[in-house]
């Protein structure tokens, strides 16, 4: 495969890198190290800037007004956009806009008018509620939230766990079991306004990602109109699964940015920090860590770009996407860990972004499917047959 960037991609990468270095990093110098948002004036100013650059709404399909980037270019941007302190989970603090919930592009026109278009205009926010206390890695079998039909409505009871953004969302995409099938054929997706009686955000769930939190939801006799079903009754898991596959490539790419920045910091530190009469960079122990970092970063980057190129060419990319997610999240964790070791004491302080990346990268090995599930996906594809 040819991983050289074409002229347009190089221009986009250079522009994004310059934007991060000149617009985002200086603002972070003044923010709390665990800050999750910019001051409103800065947010508005930078959003106006990305709109004028033609880069707003990166993940919005072109027919809905997005910039029409292919997966490879989007992955290259994700690598650049995450090269700052908050970049792993909040690349550029969202000033490049979001796409909303990708599943809503499959909605009916009436549903799009009600939820998708207001989301694309920035007027509404949604959240994705799949995982439950009974499990997240095998959601099709773990879902215990039940929905039963009552006339023109469905009544939901149950709970969801580790749901991001539910406390601020106007609507939620909720998956519930609606038949006796214990697996993936018995799950339906519902679009539910969060002010519906019976929809409760019960508590905040604190995690290693100290800047932000997940939530626990509870549904009590929650009545949802039939027209709020997304897709087919009992066809909801395909909708959820499609999202999980598509998200893996940009998710993997985002892991690489902090590793690249951490490596740059470690090289700079090693060249300028003396110990035992010479620079750290002259010591073999440090040199090997720097080299191992470079191997990890390049390996992760190649895997991400291979998956992206296969997706762009219309080939099957499930194995490559799973491999990219596994390798990028694990390799970047190793890189940041080594960079902390090279820095010594200052590496674990909040004076540098390394400690935040270290904590947050740990979550990346679990989020969007843990490493073990990625291996399971690859094993099914490689072994085939009855293992599929």
């Amino acid at each position: 495969m040819d991983f050289r960037l074409n002229e347009e991609q190089q221009m986009i990468v250079d522009t994004t890198r310059r934007f991060v270095q000149t617009e985002i990093v200086p603002l972070e110098d003044e923010l709390d190290p665990d800050a999750g948002s910019l001051a409103p004036d800065d947010q508005d100013r930078l959003t106006t800037m990305t709109r004028s650059m033609g880069f707003y709404g990166l993940d919005i399909p072109e027919e809905y007004g997005g910039p029409g980037l292919n997966t490879t270019t989007r992955a290259l941007m994700a690598i650049e956009m995450s090269q700052h302190r908050a970049g792993l989970y909040n690349p550029c603090y969202g000033v490049f806009g979001g796409a909303g919930l990708a599943q809503l592009y499959e909605a009916t026109e009436t549903q799009k008018e009600r939820w998708l278009y207001p989301t694309l205009r920035g007027e509404k926010k949604g959240c994705f509620a799949l995982t439950e206390p009974s499990g997240g890695s095998d959601p099709a079998r773990a879902i215990q939230t039940r929905g039963f039909q009552d006339g023109d409505e469905w009544v939901l009871n149950g709970s969801k766990l580790y749901i991001s953004g539910a406390d601020k969302a106007d609507y939620a995409l909720v998956f519930a079991r609606t038949s006796d099938d214990p697996g993936r054929n018995g799950v339906t997706a519902f679009i539910i306004d969060t002010d519906t009686p019976g929809f409760h955000v019960r508590r905040v769930v604190h995690t290693l990602r100290a800047t932000h939190y997940a939530t626990e939801l509870q549904f009590e006799e929650l009545r949802v109109p039939q027209e709020n079903i997304l897709g087919e009754v009992n066809g909801g898991f395909a909708i959820a699964n499609d999202r999980l596959s598509r998200q893996r490539i940009p998710y993997a790419a985002g892991c690489i940015g902090p590793a690249i920045r951490a490596q740059e910091m470690a090289i700079d530190w090693a060249k300028n920090r003396d110990a035992f009469g010479s620079a750290l960079a002259e010591k073999q122990a440090i040199q090997w860590m720097i080299v191992d970092n470079e191997i990890d970063i390049r390996h992760a980057r190649y895997c991400v770009l291979e998956a992206a190129q296969k997706a762009d060419s219309g080939e099957r990319f499930r194995t490559e996407a799973a491999m990219a997610k596994l390798i990028a999240s694990e390799a970047s964790s190793r890189v940041v860990d080594r960079c902390i070791q090279i820095h010594g004491g200052i590496g674990v302080t909040k004076d540098l972004p390394l400690e935040r990346w270290y904590r947050e990268l740990r979550i990346r090995r679990i989020g969007e499917g843990p490493s073990e599930v990625q291996r399971l996906i690859m094993a099914r594809d490689i072994l085939g047959g009855s293992f599929k």
Binding site: D34, R203, V204, A210, H212
Partner: protein, 111 residues
């Protein structure tokens, strides 16, 4: 695990504040009747953690602020948001000088 900050109130003055460890955390400051005047956090930008943050609160509220309670936590940002959401749920609005935060924080409906 309880989600509210319901430890006993302590008297707020320079002596009590100076005896605290310089740690990261969250706190509430109240008047003599226990009416909450501030829900705050001590982050990594506070040179002496919760000490510096509470000294700022004394300067902000003057003699009106007489009580405080606190919790050390490295998750000060998410815990602060949680306490703001709980205050909003219980009182319908945030303390006067923190009303700007109402547009940012989410909504909880705790049991």
């Amino acid at each position: 695990m309880g989600i509210r900050l319901d430890k006993p109130w302590e008297r707020l003055d320079s002596d009590s504040v100076s005896s605290l460890q310089a740690q990261l955390g969250v706190y509430q400051v109240a008047d003599g009747d226990g009416n909450v005047l501030s829900v705050g956090y001590a982050g990594a930008r506070h040179p002496f953690g919760i000490r510096s943050a509470l000294e700022h609160e004394i300067r902000l509220h003057g003699k009106k602020a007489t009580l405080f309670r606190y919790e050390f936590t490295s998750n000060y940002r998410s815990r602060w948001d949680e306490l703001l959401m709980l205050h909003l749920h219980d009182h319908g609005q945030l303390p006067d000088h923190q009303r700007d935060e109402e547009g940012r924080v989410g909504r909880l409906s705790p049991n």
